[in-house]
């Protein structure tokens, strides 16, 4: 099944790369509720490469909380809702690896028959933001808006890394567009301890894992920890706050768009 979705995605990658696509933005619930600026930065990036961006209103959440909790029955209507709202777009772009992975890898597992077919068709045109920018839009030109990024380390979110192969894309974009080299985290392939409801079910263990991730980030001496998934970022920022450790946590879209004006995740308006 996965191979089928991957093949369709690869066909798509090879057949098109001209501006003027209609891109539907899948905002994700965490960006919608907690960090709308990420969605505006995402729109700005997509418009810069010539996309026409629309935001379907019939969207809320991709259903990961119920799906990962094992409530498949409650998740099916959410998957169908996303398919209905987004299947007419040329492309769907998602500023989150785990939500994009949910749509591309898990909807086809969850659904059957005609719905599964529709899920596979949607999967073939759904991309996580940095993958879309690097591989479909092939964004290369450096920004000349004068915004210089401080030093950055990058947290690879598990779903993005392993389900979607997102590793080089954000690093290449930071390098090409913002002339910023990523300072690598040690054990970057290890989970940050968020895991959705896991962090509430096994809080002490989750806290330990997040502390380990935070220590690795602090050891890089980077000023900013960037990532592509709000769940991980809110977890790491929240743990840093709790332990009184200082590192700016931001979504990679903010960095690429050169928008550092908002307080970092978990920071107040001082």
């Amino acid at each position: 099944m996965q191979r089928e979705a991957d093949t369709r995605v690869n066909e798509r990658k090879n057949t098109s790369s001209v501006p003027g696509f209609n891109v539907a933005l899948y905002v994700t619930c965490l960006v919608d509720l907690f960090r709308p600026s990420v969605a505006f930065d995402t729109i700005a990036l997509l418009e810069r490469v010539g996309c026409k961006v629309s935001v379907p209103t019939q969207q809320s959440c991709c259903g990961q909380p119920s799906y990962n909790s094992g409530d498949y029955e409650s998740t099916i209507p959410l998957a169908q809702q996303v398919i209905k709202a987004f299947e007419s777009a040329d492309y769907v772009v998602v500023p989150s690896g785990s939500c994009a992975g949910m749509i591309t890898h898990h909807y086809p597992k969850l659904l059957e028959g005609a719905w599964r077919e529709r899920a596979l068709t949607l999967a073939a045109k759904t991309f996580e933001l940095t993958t879309f920018l690097a591989e479909i839009a092939q964004m290369q030109e450096p920004f000349e808006d004068g915004v210089q990024l401080p030093s950055v380390t990058y947290h690879d979110s598990c779903a993005g890394l392993r389900e979607l192969g997102i590793r080089a894309q954000p690093r290449d974009l930071l390098k090409k567009l913002r002339n910023t080299e990523v300072k690598e985290l040690s054990q970057t392939e290890v989970c940050c301890g968020f895991g959705g409801t896991f962090c509430a079910k096994m809080p002490e263990l989750s806290g330990k894992m997040t502390s380990d991730k935070l220590d690795a980030a602090l050891a890089t001496e980077a000023q900013i920890l960037a990532g592509g998934d709000m769940g991980c970022l809110m977890n790491i920022a929240g743990r840093a706050k709790r332990l009184g450790k200082t590192i700016e946590v931001r979504h990679v879209a903010e960095l690429l768009a050169g928008n550092l004006s908002k307080p970092a995740i978990g920071e107040g308006k001082s």
Binding site: D32, G70, V190, S206, R239, G266, K269
Partner: protein
């Protein structure tokens, strides 16, 4: 948890997790394990360009074998009998234990030596034989150490990985008659264990070992060890018993060899185990050594049920332990916390299947869905999917607490009504943002105490995106 209770239970998992995190020296040792084992495995796999092709081949063979398990088991039985072995089938643990005890008693045996075998851990064979007053000695170094310490394995490949060198030295000083000797470093400790074990090998009447593969085409059993203790158990005593499960069977020798090339690299990062042995049967005329009587005891213990279930891919497992070494939960809390013979991702799936989902209900939650286990699994088992399917079963059987189930259901109900959802979030989120505007995060928050137990809760920026976007769209329309 310094000394493990004899009877383990996975029901205590959550409490065990909390305790395990307090043992700082063990936490540090596990962190090192989590750092180095993946490095060893990666180095071995990267030097072997056929790994991924072979992985697919092994998976296909395993699936084919499972689809035709009856055929290959019959073939194996026939060939093994032809080679002069006796073949026994055991439905459950107690049947296996009785068969083995029966064989020992028919030879009036007092002394048994044993190689490492997770299957006999599963059936608690050692205790069963000891209760019948047999002397049984574990001869794998790790198993020997935990037998002396009266503990259980913390890892399916390295059973004593939880013990420090100092702890092992203390243990030997206590249990062995060492006179003035001090056992300075690991080499001296290994030499000490070797000399003690050598006597046991020479005096034993029965040797019990496990199996990594049962080969249907010739009735042989393949065993890998790093210490050679398996061969001594198999060849020195006059009776040899191989204890394993039905799902170890493969069609051909070449299939066992293919699995071997994945197994050892995945387990320890070695290109091949120090000893890889094939056992055919009893000593033939003209052979210089070998047992005079050999038995296979093949255990089902719910494997048939698993085969008929949606979890059958779990039977592709070759017990390499890679999923343990790459699992942040296993590395975080160690093997004993699982309260089961099998631990880590493979254990969190097998334990509920072998015991009951009710007893082991915390285990399927011991997963962040990070997917690293599936990525390294040489048998391509979709471990995170199977764990999630177990959570699905939990949810359907209402084993998940009502509070959680209702919370998830209500949330999903609301999410399926985007207009209402946007209205409500548009009311609540700006208030939350206003409350958190100065500090930017909350130390505690109603309905989020699971989250705020260990971390602050980042405040929203202000209005929701949907609110802002909607307002913008309306303004654009008005100005047109």
């Amino acid at each position: 948890m310094s000394s493990m209770p004899e009877e383990q239970s996975s029901a205590a998992f959550l409490g065990n997790v909390r305790e395990a995190l307090l043992e700082t020296d063990k936490v540090q040792r596990r962190d090192m394990l989590g750092l180095f084992m993946p490095l060893l495995r990666d180095a071995a796999v990267n030097q072997f360009d056929q790994f991924n092709n072979l992985r697919k081949q092994v998976k296909d063979v395993k699936q084919h074998t499972l689809d035709n398990l009856h055929h290959y088991l019959s073939q194996f039985e026939k060939e093994a009998l032809n080679n002069g072995n006796q073949v026994h089938f055991a439905r459950d643990s107690s049947e296996m234990n009785s068969i083995v005890l029966g064989i020992c008693q028919s030879h009036h045996t007092q002394r048994v030596v044993k190689g490492k075998s997770m299957v006999t851990e599963e059936t608690r064979l050692l205790h069963h034989l000891q209760r019948a007053d047999l002397s049984v000695v574990e001869t794998d170094l790790g198993e020997y150490i935990i037998q002396q310490a009266k503990e259980t394995p913390s890892h399916i490949v390295g059973p004593a990985l939880h013990k420090s060198v100092d702890e092992i030295r203390e243990l030997f000083l206590q249990k062995h008659d060492l006179g003035e000797r001090e056992l300075k470093g690991p080499p001296e400790m290994v030499a000490e264990a070797r000399s003690v074990l050598r006597e046991h090998f020479l005096n034993a009447d029965v040797g019990i070992i496990g199996s990594n593969a049962l080969i249907a085409e010739n009735g042989y059993s393949m065993l890998v060890t790093n210490e050679g203790n398996g061969d001594l158990c198999a060849n020195l005593p006059k009776v040899m018993i191989i204890c394993t499960t039905l799902d170890r069977v493969v069609p051909r020798t070449s299939d066992a060899m293919a699995a071997l090339r994945l197994l050892v690299r995945s387990a320890t990062g070695q290109p091949i185990s120090n000893y890889t042995s094939f056992y055919s049967g009893p000593r033939r005329e003209g052979d210089v050594d070998g047992p005079t009587e050999t038995h296979f005891v093949l255990l089902d213990n719910k494997r048939s049920d698993i085969l008929a279930s949606d979890y059958r891919e779990m039977l592709q497992c070759i017990r390499c332990g890679a999923c343990l070494n790459h699992c942040p939960i296993y590395i975080g809390v160690g093997g004993h916390a699982y309260g089961s013979v099998y631990m880590g991702p493979m254990g969190s799936i097998l334990t509920p299947l072998l015991h009951s989902l009710e007893e082991a209900q915390a285990l399927p939650d011991a997963c962040t869905a990070c997917g690293r286990c599936e990525e390294v699994c040489p048998s391509s088992i979709p471990l995170p999917d199977l764990l999630r399917d177990l959570r699905h079963e939990k949810s359907r059987e209402k084993l998940t607490p009502r509070r959680w189930r209702l919370g998830i259901k209500t949330h999903a109900w609301l999410l399926a009504r985007p207009r209402l959802y946007h209205k409500l979030s548009g009311l609540g989120i700006p208030v939350l943002a206003w409350l958190g505007r100065k500090k930017g995060s909350f130390k505690s928050l109603m309905l989020a105490n699971g989250w705020t137990d260990q971390r602050d809760f980042p405040a929203p920026q202000g209005k929701t995106f949907m609110q802002q976007y909607d307002a913008q769209r309306k303004a654009d329309d008005a100005s047109r």
